[in-house]
């Protein structure tokens, strides 16, 4: 077992896990943050997407000890007690999620994209979501939602 500690959603968290534990398992099983999902376990589907030190990461491909001492942001860290994150708000308004399983990953990708590029083109949004698979929606309402936020922010 190894002891890992990191900053998760602004809070210092520590756990003792087997060395082969992935960051995803650590978040879900040790920290009870089940927003990031296990979809494929090989980094193809993006359901496990989280942000580590400002960069998008497939948490199923990162070992927990690799996140030692780093800043991890998960879907649970976006909203506050009384306010949804603007991306969550607009995804809700536009009905961008159906079964919702890909949602947390998609929203994290959208956040990373908008942090880097406040006014992305449709192609840039598509590229930004390229690592996230969705089987229900066909992506169009997600793209529409991200465009809406970009318009509101730059207006």
């Amino acid at each position: 077992m190894v002891t890992v500690s990191m900053n998760v959603n602004g809070e210092k968290r520590t756990a003792s896990v087997a060395p082969e534990t992935t960051l995803l398992k650590l978040l879900r099983e040790s920290f009870n943050l089940t927003g990031a999902k296990l979809g494929c376990d090989v980094g193809d589907c993006g359901a496990c997407t989280v942000i580590v030190d400002g960069k998008l990461v497939n948490s199923c491909l990162m070992l927990a000890p690799q996140a030692e001492g780093r800043e991890v942001l998960t879907i649970e860290g976006l909203a506050t007690q009384d306010r949804l994150h603007p991306i969550q708000k607009v995804f809700e308004d536009k009905g961008s999620l159906q079964c919702g399983f890909c949602g947390p990953g998609v929203i994290m990708s959208a956040k990373a994209l908008l942090d880097q590029n406040p006014n992305p083109s449709v192609q840039e949004i598509r590229d930004g979501l390229a690592g996230n698979l969705c089987r229900c929606t066909g992506y169009s309402k997600m793209i529409e939602a991200i465009q809406t936020i970009a318009r509101e922010r730059t207006a």
Binding site: E76, E92, G100, G103
Partner: protein, 467 residues
């Protein structure tokens, strides 16, 4: 109409004659001009923007899917898959797996009280005990304190097989001399035939006869959420199963049958499903984890890996579709003969529903007076095929529309015009002679053509290339 009734009644004044007439409801005219209320006035919700009530929790990452549930003391189960398409099981040695630290229980097919289930035919074992019918069959299962220990333990289970020659080609399986996948049962386990008009007469009157064969492949639903289920028993001997099942009542019946306990002792809880598309319509590992939970006295969860989703869950039926169509030289379809062969895989699952729907829809939305459509579903030693969006409709649509395009090209008729000459209209009879209402194929085609600016590539000519 009222006077009509009166005349008829007075014509039958003779009492004796009246008694001979079978009693029938009198012809009373109903008020026919029914007032249809304006939906928007009737309810203020119509036309309003609605947000999905579950969308907020999805976006917050707070929706609890089955795999997000972690109960105190919960164990993780893994299934040992056969990996061979057809075999006789000689022995299953689980001793080494049982000795592994962290492994709490192991079950094999022999432990299942009633080892068969299925939505229609009960031809599927929960875990294979004597025979393996396809590579994704489970042969044993392990419950351990971590998923990793369970995954390592199933590698330690030794299964000795006598491998048999698998039946892989549905056309081979269709032949009577091919050995039965589920011998002594025949390989053809579902058949449907639809006949309308006189097919021979129709072909004889046709100027051209076109024949074509189409094939579609096996398709997996790939829901983003893999199959998952969680079982626990309470102190009163009642079983609670949380599962990604779409049909919980059917699932409950199958769990009751396989475990040999009354349905009243079983509670199946379906929570939010992360994509179903028809692939989560029947039980998979539920009876196995229920047994593992019973053996250990702990909650047990089993979540499929992504590879298991592909080889151990249901898929869309591959179809082999042979079409023969007789057409007049000006493009009117007179007769059509269709043969469909559905690759049913190792078990029936929802094959009967798929077979029926594919057969009924195989003629397409076209008025064909002389029709024979025959469909077979056969067993092969492959991943089982079952329900998937459309139940066979997308496969036959691919065939009949490709066939229409090929014929239009050969006849040198614009493909849109060729379709318009043959589409169903209000009051047309379906292949099963059902009167069809609200038929707007023509309008839909014309509107679509107008919207995307369809222009015929070839001038519509009555005299085709084969005339």
């Amino acid at each position: 109409m009222a006077t009509d009734t009166k005349t008829k009644t007075t014509a039958l004044v003779d009492a004796e004659q009246l008694l001979r007439v079978p009693s029938a409801a009198p012809l009373v005219p109903f008020p026919v001009d029914v007032q249809v209320p304006d939906a928007a006035r009737q309810t203020p919700a119509v036309g309003q923007r609605a947000t999905r009530p579950d969308c907020r929790l999805h976006g917050l990452g707070q929706t609890k899917y089955i795999d997000d549930m972690y109960l105190p003391g919960m164990l993780f189960a893994k299934i040992k898959r056969a990996g061979v398409a057809s075999a006789r099981i000689i022995s299953v040695d689980t001793s080494e797996a049982e000795m592994t630290p962290g492994v709490m229980a192991v079950v094999t097919g022999k432990d299942i009280p009633c080892n068969s289930f299925g939505p229609s035919l009960k031809d599927q074992p929960v875990l294979a005990d004597e025979r393996v019918f396809y590579a994704g069959d489970g042969v044993a299962a392990v419950a351990a304190v971590t998923e990793q220990i369970a995954a390592d333990a199933i590698e330690k289970i030794k299964v000795e097989y006598e491998e048999l020659t698998p039946v892989l080609d549905p056309l081979e399986s269709l032949k009577l001399e091919t050995p039965g996948v589920h011998a002594p049962s025949a390989n053809i386990y579902g058949h449907k035939i639809i006949k309308k008009g006189d097919i021979e007469k129709g072909f004889a009157a046709s100027d051209h006869i076109f024949e074509a064969s189409f094939r579609t492949q096996m398709v997996e639903h790939v829901p983003l959420e893999p199959h998952s289920s969680l079982a626990q028993w309470d102190a009163n001997g009642r079983l609670t199963v949380h599962s990604t099942l779409g049909r919980i009542t059917l699932g409950r019946a199958d769990i009751a049958r396989t475990l040999g306990i009354p349905m009243s002792r079983i509670r199946v809880v379906a929570t939010v499903v992360g994509g179903n598309f028809g692939g989560k319509n029947e039980i998979t590992t539920e009876p196995v984890i229920a047994l593992l939970s019973k053996k250990t006295g702990r909650p047990v969860k089993c979540t499929f890996t992504r590879p298991e989703e592909f080889y151990a869950s249901t898929t869309r039926h591959p179809l082999i579709m042979d079409y023969k169509t007789g057409v007049t030289k000006d493009g009117k379809i007179l007769a059509r003969k269709i043969r469909l062969v559905l690759d049913g895989g190792a078990y029936c699952s929802w094959s009967e529903t798929t077979l029926g729907k594919a057969c009924i829809l195989s003629a397409g939305p076209y008025q064909i007076d002389n029709l024979v459509a025959e469909a077979f579903v056969v067993y092969t030693n492959k991943t089982m095929t079952g329900a998937m969006r459309g139940f066979g409709a997308p496969q036959v649509c691919f065939a009949y529309e490709s066939h229409m395009d090929d014929m239009a090209k050969a006849l040198n008729i614009d493909p849109l015009e060729f379709r318009l000459k043959n589409v169903l209209s209000e009051g047309s009879l379906s292949p099963t002679s059902q009167t069809l209402h609200s038929v707007v194929v023509r309008e839909s085609l014309l509107q679509a053509a107008q919207r995307f600016g369809w222009k015929p590539k070839t001038a519509p000519e009555a005299e085709g290339a084969f005339a």
